[in-house]
Symmetry: C2
Subunit: 525 residues, 2 copies
């Protein structure tokens, strides 16, 4: 009963050996931030296997750099939306999420998010319009591509794939309340046990949770459906949702180590942890600091690339908590130095996060709860203390807490002793490490590695010019047909008809009987 | 863009290389006929990988022979139900299906099937009782098994797994209308696009089809649920369905080459085609006959192991049809020789079916439509003419016809010219061969071979003493919670309450206003 690791290694070996000849021509939609980090290994693997990869890059990209030397062919296009606009939107979103949201009511938060989303959609469509109307489209037409690979979080790929008549493969972490997956991809998700993404619920829901989840689905559907039906009308007489529904494969970037088990469809592949890899040795100075921790070990701490600074009060509070634990702490933080920084804590502008998480001395990971970081912790079996900041981070940490591998802190409300207590629990109570190791086993022990699976389905779609045999027939049904409401209505009508007929017949018979009796009586009298 | 074959071969290689040390101890529930044929390769592979396999065999088994030399360890037990009883039931079922059913109404068929099923259940429970009460149980307790592997079509494995506290892995082709998978395994199956097994429907359904499918599900559920809740009560205070729901993994013996795409759960693995393998060279005399067919090629014809004879009229009709095609025909038939047998047709008591289907000269396969035979035809890309006889065969052939790889004949009603026409179409119209080859590509082009996938999940369950991370939370919900009916009821109640409150308030206000006016009026008067 050997674990599946050697099997996975061999699959990878064969995949890379097979990478020559018959290369495909893949067009990749632009993306940003952690999405780009996650997409890159897939593109690298595709290039290793002899395919040509062309990546669309808008002039106002925040994270992609079309002029840096790379194995990808970059296809830049001028966007009418300047970089500053995107920076402003993101800054506004992050600042609101971290510093304002906690003090507002649900309605106020919803209104603010709608406002930001509206602005984002407006600029995204402008952005897309610059591309569709530019000479880039003519170049893409000449490019003779075999496939479009896209993260639908940056809309437009479905439109361009339709115009260029390319099979489309999605790579997606989630949409809010899984609206796109459900409404466009026809993924079934009973609200009774599939918590909507961003709902901060688990799959174990009491009545109030299920009520909330139901309303969350319903409200998000109304909002998302409106957007997804109207956005593309200026270019094509079709809805964005219909175009999204044409995606051949949805590569979902989670697995059952992170997500709660749920129903899915044959063209949904769960490939969470694509970017994970074994730890490399640390640079000498880092290794020295790590080794100086002795038996106590180290704690790795980062709040991600988006949060670079924080208020003096918060950083001092955190630093004084870190100073109270026996572990050495490596804190990725480029803001002002906290006054209370302990001798055991070192600040770094950047850390080799994966290599540190894979180090045998690592005892815990303090994280903002981004999916990529969590997946590295799962890969190496490291328990976590989450300080979620924005977007899906709170929801991600709820998953890890539910699986017993993490504790959650609230950035604005936690105090020094809360953080110390959480860190001590996660490091000293064996259940957290055990659960982290259990998730790690689930992550590694699968028939095929996530990266190999992603590459396989991209190549399958190219080889077969689609994956229609995985496409459910629901796409051709209306919502009332899907839920058998017309069948219900018919059966109800038939039942009612029979009941009425029965009552009428009975009453007719009774009346006839009575009449006769009446007549007989009269006669007798 | 190379196909996935080399990958699969390598996976198999690694799987077999890894087969030493740490062997598990697997208990296998008894099974029969084509189910046993399909299970054997999995057991062989498990033995190759160093596991010990013990197979339970009742004394009244039709197909299993505990005394034949084998790599499995057989564990025989005395059944209180003699072999003749089983033979009688099967004979009755087959005779009714082939010769009587076609001339009866749906209600008459249903009543007859219920009668046979009732008899079968009675004897199955007797059979099971002999095992549970025998000293076999004591021996099994001492056997220190790691896992129970079972085809639930022969009930009882779930009860014995519960008693022995073993993780349970199912291998299943289907249950009628997927009742077990749905009711016990919690597999979602919207009746609007998932045709119930045995319904003879496809995933493309018009209103009447969907109505029929809905009623088919409902009627089967009532029947199956009653049985599954009451059967085991004599031994354990639990329902069979609850015990079935504890199965860690369901290895479903189809894939999207055969089945219509449908929603499924993380612990349902589609491993159709487990027994398929490349063709071996034919014996000399067979090869000579096959080669004598020239460019016209051959047709392979078998109605399976269960049908050995037929009426003179039917066999003569079939033989005269076969005599009219230019192909040579190899007919597996051990009954009386037809009078009209053509020079191009040879009868055989047994044929190497897989080797013939994989022969380059094979143009078509005339089949009764058993899943194993169909899968061999899919594996080798051979178009089919189906003459379905009983059980799932009509439904199987509907699948193949819907996918454009087969035509269907009705055994009792087809005439010579119908069969000739069907054979000529399947052989000469390119679409049938093209579709058969398309299904073959789908079959071969998957990330992992079905046998390897089955073995992987059996071993995973042993390694991890279960596969709880794949188990959906639905198992803990009631049916009304699952369908969110309590949430609906609550929302309806709240809406009604608010509406009534609103109306009452309005009418109160209006009345007050009116009263005042009235009073004012009176005063004024």
């Amino acid at each position: 009963m050997k674990p599946g690791r050697c099997l996975c290694v061999c699959v990878l070996l064969v995949l890379s050996m097979a990478g020559n000849g018959n290369g495909g021509n893949i067009l990749v939609w632009f993306t940003e931030g952690s999405h780009w980090i996650n997409l890159k290994p897939v593109l690298e693997a595709l290039i290793d296997r002899g395919h040509q990869v062309t990546v669309l890059v808008p002039s106002s990209s925040l994270f992609m750099n079309a002029s840096e030397p790379s194995r990808f062919h970059y296809e830049p296009f001028n966007s009418s939306v300047p970089l500053e606009v995107w920076e402003e939107i993101i800054e506004e979103f992050i600042h609101f999420s971290i510093y304002e949201m906690d003090y507002l009511s649900y309605i106020q938060i919803h209104i603010k998010f709608l406002e930001i989303a509206k602005k984002e959609v407006k600029f995204t469509l402008q952005h897309l319009d610059s591309m569709v109307r530019s000479d880039t489209m003519a170049r893409l037409r000449e490019g003779k591509f075999d496939l479009m690979l896209a993260d639908p979080i940056y809309p437009g790929s479905e439109l361009v794939a339709e115009v260029l008549d390319l099979p489309l493969v999605y790579t997606l972490r989630f949409s809010i309340a899984h609206t796109w997956e459900r409404l466009c991809g026809q993924l079934p998700a009973p609200p009774s046990y599939v918590p909507g993404a961003m709902s901060k619920l688990t799959d174990k829901m009491d009545f109030m949770d299920r009520l909330w989840n139901f309303l969350f689905y319903a409200s998000q559907d109304m909002f998302a459906y409106h957007g997804k039906t109207s956005h593309f009308l200026q270019w094509k007489p079709t809805s964005a949702c219909e175009l999204m529904g044409k995606a051949e494969i949805w590569l979902i970037r989670t697995y059952w180590d992170f997500d709660f088990p749920r129903p899915f469809l044959p063209n949904f592949k769960f490939v969470g942890g694509i970017h994970c890899k074994p730890a490399k040795p640390l640079p000498e100075d880092l290794e020295e600091f790590v080794q100086s921790s002795g038996d106590a070990g180290i704690v790795v701490f980062t709040l991600g690339t988006m949060v670079t600074n924080m208020t003096a009060e918060r950083r001092d509070m955190i630093a004084s908590a870190l100073a109270q634990i026996p572990q050495k702490v490596l804190w990725r933080y480029s803001g002002e130095k906290p006054k209370t920084l302990g001798a055991n804590t070192k600040l770094y502008d950047w850390i080799p996060q994966n290599d540190l998480l894979g180090h045998p001395k690592t005892r815990a990971f303090i994280t903002h709860g981004g999916t990529n970081g969590i997946y590295e912790a799962i890969y190496h079996g490291v328990p976590m203390v989450g300080i979620p900041m924005f977007a899906d981070q709170p929801d991600n940490m709820v998953h890890m807490k539910a699986k017993g591998a993490a504790l959650i802190m609230e950035f604005n409300f936690m105090e020094t002793e809360d953080l110390v207590k959480a860190l001590k629990a996660v490091i000293n109570e064996p259940s957290y490490k055990e659960n982290a190791m259990r998730l790690s086993r689930i992550h590694h022990d699968r028939p095929i590695k996530p990266l190999d699976e992603a590459v396989f389905w991209v190549e399958f779609t190219m080889r077969n010019k689609g994956a229609k045999h995985l496409r459910v027939q629901t796409h051709e049904l209306t919502w009332y047909q899907y839920h058998s409401l017309d069948v219900f209505a018919f059966l109800l009508a038939v039942t009612l008809f029979i009941t009425v007929l029965f009552i009428k017949t009975c009453s007719f018979c009774i009346r006839r009987c009575c009449c006769r009796k009446g007549k007989t009586k009269t006669k007798a009298e």
